[in-house]
Symmetry: C2
Subunit: 262 residues, 2 copies
DNA sequence: TAATGTCGTTTCACATAGTGATATATACGT
DNA sequence: ACGTATATATCACTATGTGAAACGACATTA
């Protein structure tokens, strides 16, 4: 790989900082990005002129431009999977009346790309674009369990095992042990590990290279998670995920669940 | 405004081309971007190294990286409005059982940022991230009607009045005439102008500068759009939109609907 | 109101960093 | 094996981005 273009790298650093919050001053931004003020300013100015950043008229603060919304679709198979998953998600939603989530792995994070909300007034619901960590979600664990070792290692190295509840898995060793179980089962369970009172089951979705890159999950208040219902979900959800993987171009699903992807 | 950084401008041109489709070869991309191949390559190479582009191992084609999903939230008040709108959308959804849309104006396009689907099996539904044009949607017309003349002009200049149905407004003069009516009413109606058999009503949402930047709409099959129901919607929807504008920091709502924003 | 501080923004001489015609590598088809 | 399509690599040239310093606008204080 050749040398990356420096300005572009800097530009994305700026964009990532803009993405952290609602607004930031030039001074703070330059500082966080470790860039001289004029350099940061020129980058912002360019983004402004392209519509990828906005400047608040009153406070003069800078923020990401709404033009970034343009990229929601088509982000690398994003469009595909969302469209293909829709009917399955609706079927699951109708069958169980709980919230169905679809999320992708991006770097070391889980990003929700589609959420079908339950119509219960007492329900669990994340929003599209929300981010979550791998170690505390059914989705994350479903994906992680089937990742090739090098990539898993990379993710776990950058993961901070934040504790959200008393049941959150907070060290790598326990997580790895847990992932072995997930791999055996073919689905993952998050039993109040992300939020108290919330139970979630997840199943991995594979791309045509037999690699897990997304997952689907059903989340519900634990009080509604009766054994019988759960058993049915554990039967249906992985089935749906497999079907979706096949739709996405997986030819031999056994390779996905096997020990090592070819 | 100073001179924009050229590489950055080129980079976003490349990104926008990548965003158009599922995958593209270096050759085609360089051609579409009017860039020499090595230049295009270096830009792609940089995006690759940053994770903002992917290259298909088999076909060698390039596409946008999923890392762009990271920017879905926090795109300029995007997060705010979505969170604030949620309860209102749910209330409308419960009240009428039809699909409720929330969309923003970005450039000359409408981008859906949240969709709450009706539970009718016969329903209208766009997806989050979908784009639509101003002239053919209730959302677009609701926003356009309250835009200051210079911005409206700019949008209409770049608009191609694509005809979707026999009722689509296909020239600027008719649209402007129509917008006067919308401004008077305070809400917009799309009567089979985007899709045959689909009726939609929309109301504008203003930001703290009293400018319309988003809108909410209710869409339904025309067969279900009975006069009585419509009358209720036309009463409720603008009320909700006004409330949302106030939540977003508008202090004097009359200024928004007045002749010229101060 | 003058003095001081703190921003965002502009300037400009300098050299680094990006350019792109050309060359090479690699894959595939015949 | 040859031709032809790619995607990559090279490298001399100079256009382009750099950042210290200066500027202007506004706010805060004396």
């Amino acid at each position: 790989m050749g040398k990356p273009i420096k300005v572009v790298t800097k530009t994305f650093k700026v964009i990532e900082i803009l993405n952290q919050g609602k607004g930031i001053s030039l001074k703070d931004l330059a500082q966080q990005a470790s860039l001289p003020k004029p350099t940061a300013f020129r980058i912002l100015d360019t983004l402004l002129s392209l519509g990828y950043a906005d400047q608040d008229a009153a406070t003069q603060q800078f923020r990401l431009g709404s033009k970034f919304l343009t990229f929601v679709k088509s982000s690398s198979a994003g469009a595909d999977i969302i469209a293909l998953a829709k009917p399955y998600m609706e079927k699951l939603g109708e069958a169980y009346g709980e919230t169905i989530n679809l999320a992708r792995l991006t770097g070391d994070q889980i990003i929700y790309v589609r959420v079908l909300e339950s119509d219960h007034s007492f329900r669990i619901s994340d929003n599209i674009g929300d981010r979550a960590s791998v170690h505390s979600t059914a989705i994350g664990k479903a994906i992680a369990a089937f990742l090739p070792e090098p990539q898993l290692k990379e993710i776990l190295n950058t993961t901070t095992f934040t504790s959200f509840t008393r049941k959150t898995i907070i060290d790598e060793a326990s997580l790895r042990k847990h992932l072995v179980l997930v791999k055996l089962q073919g689905y993952s369970v998050d039993d109040e590990e992300g939020h108290d009172g919330v139970l979630c089951i997840g199943a991995p979705i594979f791309n045509k290279d037999n690699l897990p890159f997304a997952a689907m999950s059903i989340s519900m208040p634990k009080v509604r998670a009766k054994k019988k219902v759960l058993d049915n979900m554990i039967r249906d959800l992985p089935k749906v995920a497999v079907q979706l993987s096949l739709d996405l171009g997986v030819t031999d699903i056994r390779k996905c669940f096997g020990k090592e992807p070819s």
